[in-house]
């Protein structure tokens, strides 16, 4: 929760923000950011995605700032949005893990019992590890591209960027393409 000294400052800045005063952005952001990050870290288990989720929550709050009502507590509003973001994150993550399991099951069923199959198995587990380390956004792009098979131009561009990041990471970890 906000420190008592920041409460009045936050309420006043939030009112200014709702009124369209751009100079209040910094004040509101600096008060809410640590609070929302801590909350997200608690909800997603201290993962590095917590900052992304906190940022997404604050962006939604700023986009809706004109709807702020003085009887609402800004920090409660921010934490509600953050909780929603974290819930969506958990949902997406569990959906993605299910999809990963499906993807994992496919080659094993079809793989012939050869050295190549063993190498493929190793490469696949290395890849799985890299996918687990990817950011939440990149994992969603992966699922959208290869499971949901979305192919609009915007998805193609995201897929391209995600694959180049994945290749770069592969090179960093395993040293070859």
């Amino acid at each position: 929760m906000a420190e008592p000294f920041a409460r009045e400052e936050l309420d006043a800045a939030m009112l200014r923000l709702a009124d369209g005063d751009r100079t209040a952005v910094d004040v509101v952001y600096r008060i809410l950011w640590p609070m929302v990050v801590r909350y997200c870290q608690r909800l997603v288990g201290g993962s590095s995605d917590a900052e992304d989720l906190a940022q997404a929550a604050l962006i939604k709050l700023f986009a809706q700032a004109h709807n702020y009502e003085p009887d609402k507590r800004p920090e409660a509003w921010a934490l509600t949005i953050a909780a929603w973001e974290c819930r969506s994150y958990h949902r997406k993550r569990s959906r993605m893990e299910r999809n990963l399991e499906k993807m994992q099951a496919l080659p094993r069923e079809q793989a012939p019992d050869t050295a190549e199959a063993a190498w493929k198995g190793q490469a696949m587990s290395a890849l799985e590890q890299l996918v687990r380390d990817m950011s939440q956004r990149d994992r969603q792009v992966l699922v959208d591209s290869f499971v949901n098979e979305l192919a609009e131009p915007v998805h193609r561009k995201r897929k391209q960027r995600m694959l180049s990041r994945l290749r770069r990471r592969w090179k960093e970890v395993y040293g070859e393409e």
Binding site: D19, G20, R22, V25, D26, L58, A63, A65
Partner: protein
């Protein structure tokens, strides 16, 4: 890679502007609705120009916010007085300014409805502890909303309505200046 604070603040500012743009689009919709009503009731070509100007001014005011943004809602609400009064005159006297009834009633209705709207604006300005920017922006938008409903938009009607709005609305200006709300 983690974003820097400057980057995150930039995104926050962009989100705020995006929200204000969404809010501004409601003013465009309101102006278009008034324009459509005026057009359906037979006010032709000039309606489009006045409506477009109203949409631009109202959207800009909401986007910028502060005193200008706060002026939009009262301006539309008060502007409906001259708007509906003038459309009522049109309905009573028939369509078109070439008819004598319309021409003789138009100017006094413009002035009278402008006076009522200006008086209301002065009252609201005192109640909400408005600034000069608020009064100016609201008066301009009231005038545009009223002009949309005017079946006989001519220079005299528009000047008459502007004068009608300006006299009572202007009377609060010394008080605002006195209270340091310039």
């Amino acid at each position: 890679m983690a974003k820097s604070e400057a980057q995150r603040l930039r995104e926050a500012r962009r989100a705020l502007s995006f929200g204000r743009l969404q809010l501004a689009s409601t003013a465009v919709v309101a102006a278009l609705v008034l324009m459509l009503v005026a057009w359906l009731l037979g006010n032709g070509g000039k309606t489009m120009w006045i409506g477009t100007l109203l949409a631009v001014v109202a959207a800009y005011s909401l986007f910028v916010g502060r005193a200008l943004g706060r002026a939009v809602l009262p301006a539309f609400a008060i502007g409906l007085i001259p708007f509906s009064a003038l459309l009522a005159i049109q309905a009573l006297t028939g369509n078109g300014c070439h008819m004598g009834g319309c021409a003789t009633l138009c100017l006094p209705t413009c002035v009278l409805s402008g006076l009522i709207a200006g008086g209301l604006l002065a009252f609201v300005s005192i109640r909400v502890r408005a600034t000069l920017a608020f009064v100016g922006a609201a008066a301009g938008m009231i005038w545009l909303v009223g002009a949309l409903g005017c079946p006989c938009v001519g220079v005299s009607s528009l000047v008459g309505m502007a004068a009608g709005i300006a006299v009572p609305a202007g009377s609060v200006i010394p008080r605002l200046l006195e209270e340091g709300r310039g």
